[in-house]
């Protein structure tokens, strides 16, 4: 299975992604040993990166079962391709890219591969955010916790969710997302905006329901 890799965008000479990834103690040694077939070393790499990889898959797919399958796929792919890791980027960055590409390939296989994602990424009218920008209800600031946001993200239409997770959570630039999703940069910006509008709508609805339940 061939997985396409994409170049890294740099900002001020620093990789645009995973600036926050410090080297992990023992990782370099585990990589070298795993390259030589050391099962314990591969197990260590899994232990170090499983949460990051699984969380990324879960956010991109919004489904536990698929996220587990793709986590498995990512580490199997890692095992087979580890020899090609040359250390030109951080290992976590490399693994992260490999995972993103596998998930995108999986999504294309599920039905997005025949038509440009630019067309299929748009959700139905029903799923699109409303055109009115809301009445003067209390605004969201300070009222949304992590769990509420994660849940809301999981309910986004797939195209919105992908762009939102890749840009707002994972820190990819619009030009990188456009390359990955085979759409225009303008489309990526537009989808991100619609995703945030839709999230606002979902979060406000959830807040209203919670208030009604609390008032009972």
């Amino acid at each position: 299975m061939q997985v396409q890799t994409y170049g890294m965008t740099t900002q001020n000479g620093t990789p645009g992604l995973f600036k926050r990834n410090p080297p992990i103690a023992g990782e370099a040694d585990a990589i070298e040993r795993a390259k030589n077939g050391d099962a314990d070393a591969f197990s260590k790499l899994y232990a170090l990166h499983k949460r990051r990889v699984y969380t990324l898959c879960l956010r991109m797919l919004g489904n536990v079962s698929e996220a587990e399958d793709m986590t498995q796929e990512a580490f199997l792919h890692l095992y087979r391709k580890l020899g090609s890791f040359r250390g030109e980027s951080a290992f976590s960055t490399w693994l992260h890219r490999l995972t993103v590409n596998l998930v995108l390939m999986h999504l294309r296989k599920k039905g997005l591969q025949l038509v440009s994602l630019e067309e299929t990424i748009n959700p139905s009218e029903e799923d699109a955010p409303k055109r009115d920008f809301g009445s003067r209800d209390p605004h969201l600031a300070g009222s949304v916790d992590r769990v509420a946001l994660e849940r809301a993200v999981a309910t986004l239409p797939p195209g919105y969710r992908l762009v939102f997770v890749l840009h707002d959570v994972e820190g990819f630039e619009h030009n990188e997302i456009a390359d990955m999703l085979e759409c225009s940069t303008g489309n990526s910006k537009s989808q991100l905006h619609k995703a945030r509008l839709k999230l606002r709508e979902i979060l406000r609805q959830n807040e209203a329901v919670a208030k009604m339940e609390a008032a009972r």
């Binding site: 879960l58 199997l76 920008f133 809301g134 949304v144 946001l149 994660e150 979060l203």
Partner: protein
């Protein structure tokens, strides 16, 4: 579209609220994490349009909260079954190789 009617060529302090809302995806993309709600160029427009101001603050808040999701404490543990399946697949690979 004439130059006069093109929102992209309109100065921030001359924008109508509709033009502002239309430009929001691009404004957010250009803002590089800086808050549009705190940009003096849009202060007058947002003061005059509280609904638009509220929308901008909410969208900024959502983007800021999303960035926090990447922190390691927000990562989720996969079930033990994932590692078992990986080991099983690798074992099958080894058998085939031998």
């Amino acid at each position: 579209m004439t130059e006069q009617n093109n929102p992209a060529s309109t100065q921030p302090d001359e924008l109508t609220v509709d033009q502002f809302l239309e430009q929001l995806p691009e404004l957010f993309a250009k803002s590089s994490g800086e808050r549009i709600s705190e940009n003096p160029q849009y202060a007058e427009l947002l003061r005059a349009n509280p609904t638009a101001a509220e929308l901008v603050r909410d969208l900024e808040y959502i983007a800021e909260q999303a960035r926090m999701l990447l922190q390691p404490e927000n990562e989720i543990e996969p079930s033990d079954a994932v590692w078992s399946k990986i080991q099983s697949s690798l074992g099958n690979d080894d058998k085939k190789a031998n």
